[in-house]
């Protein structure tokens, strides 16, 4: 085969230089990524656990292996494939109640659960002069759960790329088939074959403010309906629909002092019709450093989240209200996580190491704290190691 001449190779490359007035560019390289993540929940305080058998205070450990392949097609399209496999083991809380001393405690499933989940997704994007148009499909399967989601998204670049409008829409359909439904009967049997559906919309606007900063504002809306309770909890009766709204701000600033670094500030406001109202603030600093000849990027980050409880959250199992849940995720609490990302680039390969520690407490909510205790709150650490290869 005749070798491509420098004339034709350079002509193609010259045509690919985007003049400032041009828009979104399709990736020009293939990327292969592999990532391993370990999620480990800290044991619960012994005095607040009531295990059914044995005295397991250990909670969930999750191992996740992700594979991703992104490839350009004919300069105008890209195809992004990802597959992830998760294995979960440990015990989970199936309820909380008040003990004889008046203190709340958690009921843990003594038997260790061993489960696995497989997720796969495919996203295609078409690149136009003024923006992008994409569609995606995702499936997720585990022994007691099947989920399928479809989405479309688009971006439109205006005013010489200084303003970008973003929009996306997605729907999902999940089907439940709780394990041991025949053995435990009750909610598990009732949930068997039930499904849940979601519909989500997002509208965003990204604006380049000046040479050193950008701001993105977004509004999201999600409607969930179907079987939204947790069939594994001894008692869990949630409404069969949920409306969620979010408002998010992302600010990026490049600071030229101290040899230059990028600052990221994110804020998210969340509200739903179950009575939950949540605020999340996060911040990170991206800084390139050279350590004994190695060129690294360091990104320490911190995040604070606090929320008000759902109207029907309670740990009083004797409550006879129609709606009831003692799931800690619906309680009032505050959580802080701190972490660090470390990247190392060598030619076409980059390596990423991430570590983070998450701690939560029922007294850390900045507003909306309440008397109800939340004994089941989790603390966890995550560790992640990834490699990306561009070719």
């Amino acid at each position: 085969m005749k070798k491509q001449t420098a004339l034709s190779a350079l002509t193609m490359s010259a045509l690919a230089i985007p003049n400032v007035t041009d828009a979104a560019v399709a990736p020009d390289k293939k990327t292969l990524s592999l990532r391993y993540t370990q999620y480990k929940e800290a044991p619960m305080p012994q005095e607040r656990v009531q295990a059914v058998s044995g005295s397991s205070t250990g909670r969930y450990d999750i191992d996740i292996l992700q594979f991703r392949f992104l490839t350009p097609i004919q300069n105008k399209y890209s195809l992004d494939t990802s597959v992830s496999y998760e294995t979960m083991s440990g015990a989970s809380a199936y309820g909380s109640s008040v003990n004889a001393d008046g203190q709340t405690e958690v009921h843990m499933s003594g038997a260790s659960i061993e489960e696995s989940r497989l997720d796969a997704s495919l996203q295609g994007t078409r690149y136009f002069k003024e923006g992008t148009l994409g569609s995606s499909v995702a499936i997720s399967t585990e022994n007691d759960y099947e989920s399928m989601a479809l989405g479309v998204s688009g971006s439109l670049e205006l005013y010489q790329k200084h303003t970008t409008l973003l929009s996306s829409l997605s729907v999902s359909h999940d089907e439940l088939s709780p394990t041991d439904a025949d053995l435990y009967q009750g909610a598990r049997l009732e949930a068997d074959g039930e499904n849940k559906r979601s519909f989500s919309l997002y509208q965003g606007l990204s604006q380049v403010l000046d040479k050193f900063s950008t701001l993105q504002i977004g509004m999201g809306y999600t409607h969930l309906s179907g079987y939204l309770s947790d069939p594994y909890r001894t008692r869990d009766d949630r409404p069969d629909s949920r409306e969620q709204s979010t408002l998010s701000l992302q600010y990026r600033y490049y600071l030229r002092s101290f040899g230059g670094m990028a600052l990221h500030w994110d804020y998210r406001y969340y509200q739903d019709d179950w009575g939950i109202l949540a605020n999340t603030i996060s911040s990170s600093v991206w800084k390139d450093v050279e350590v004994s000849g190695l060129h690294l990027t360091l990104a320490p980050n911190v995040r604070y989240h606090w929320q008000h409880a759902a109207d029907f959250y309670s740990v009083d199992a004797s409550s006879n209200s129609e709606l009831y849940s003692s799931d800690y995720r619906l309680s009032a609490y505050g959580a802080v996580s701190v972490g660090i990302d470390l990247q190392y680039h060598h030619q076409d390969t980059s390596f990423t190491l991430s570590l983070s520690q998450y701690v939560s407490d029922e007294d850390w909510g900045a507003t909306g704290s309440q008397d109800t205790e939340t004994p089941a709150l989790v603390d966890f650490t995550t560790f992640s190691l990834g490699v990306d290869y561009h070719f």
Partner: protein, 295 residues
């Protein structure tokens, strides 16, 4: 049909636009926009302005990587391909030879000084991942070898977008043609005689595309009757010989310029290499022999 001839100085060279349109107002507006585009690129990639994108990159050498915008990324990808296609001769890190080669003097540098600088040359030593670029300490990049040609292509694009279809853009001898003259005759672009730069040795007719020229008469010094030109072989640190002038015609001024420079760097393999590329060119070597499509 109104004729607009606009002369100005940019990128260290005399520049001119020769353009035609029925509407004088439209013509003047397009000329102003095209000049603005050239000035924009001059500022963005100037070695001399400390706030240019290029200086941002060079100032961070040995300190940290610098994220670049998509246009700069496109030019860096293009420069990477030039390096590859020229078997490592076309090298944007070669600018540091300035530290030892002073063409205003008539003195040759010491070999030890050339060797000292050679260690800071080599595109393969820089880290470019498509988004951000990292230069080792003491290294720098210079896009002087591509920006003037690229600017000629961009200025032509501005005219075409403003519905000007007859004319040419000339940035210091790098020429991009918008279309034939209003009487439909071609533009004749003269290639300078390397021995007598005020005279043309050949006139090349063009109705479209672009032509760029690289020659040993542009910047040089004579030492003991030997000519040392400003195009330096990144492998040896010494100026190239063999080609006196090379002009290449292609659809893009950027591509024409790179092929002409690579041919200079290929020295006595230049003619064979240009022929292998299927390039349309004119080449005169140091013995005043002519090669290419216009002989």
């Amino acid at each position: 049909m109104h004729a607009g001839v606009h002369e100005f100085r940019a990128m260290g060279s005399p520049c001119s636009f020769h353009v035609f349109h029925e509407n004088e107002e439209k013509l003047n507006k397009a000329i102003a926009l095209a000049q603005q585009e050239v000035i924009r690129l001059e500022k963005k990639y100037s070695r001399f302005l400390n706030d240019s994108v290029l200086s941002d990159i060079n100032n961070q050498a040995g300190i940290q990587s610098v994220q670049v915008d998509s246009e700069t990324a496109g030019l860096l990808n293009y420069a990477a391909l030039c390096f590859e296609q020229s078997d490592a001769l076309f090298d944007i890190t070669s600018g540091v030879f300035r530290r030892v080669w002073d063409f205003k003097s008539t003195r040759l540098p010491e070999q030890s000084a050339v060797n000292e600088v050679l260690q800071y040359v080599g595109y393969e030593k820089i880290n470019w991942n498509g988004n951000s670029i990292f230069l080792p300490t003491h290294m720098e990049i210079d896009l002087g070898g591509v920006v003037k040609e690229y600017a000629a292509d961009c200025a032509r694009q501005v005219f075409l977008e403003n519905e000007i279809h007859h004319g040419l853009v000339n940035l210091g001898g790098d020429i991009a043609v918008l279309g034939e003259k209003p009487d439909l005759s071609p533009w004749y672009v003269g290639v300078r005689n390397p021995q007598q730069p005020q005279q043309a040795i050949v006139d090349i007719p063009l109705t479209q595309g672009a032509i760029a020229t690289s020659g040993y008469y542009e910047r040089y010094m004579l030492v003991d009757g030997e000519r040392y030109c400003h195009i330096i072989n990144p492998m040896t640190g010494w100026p190239v010989r063999y080609c006196a002038t090379v002009s290449v015609v292609s659809p893009s001024c950027l591509v024409s310029g790179s092929l002409a420079t690579i041919a200079m760097l290929k020295q006595n393999e230049a003619v064979t290499w240009l022929e292998e590329q299927g390039a349309v060119f004119f080449l005169q070597n140091h013995e005043a022999q002519h090669f290419g499509s216009f002989c």
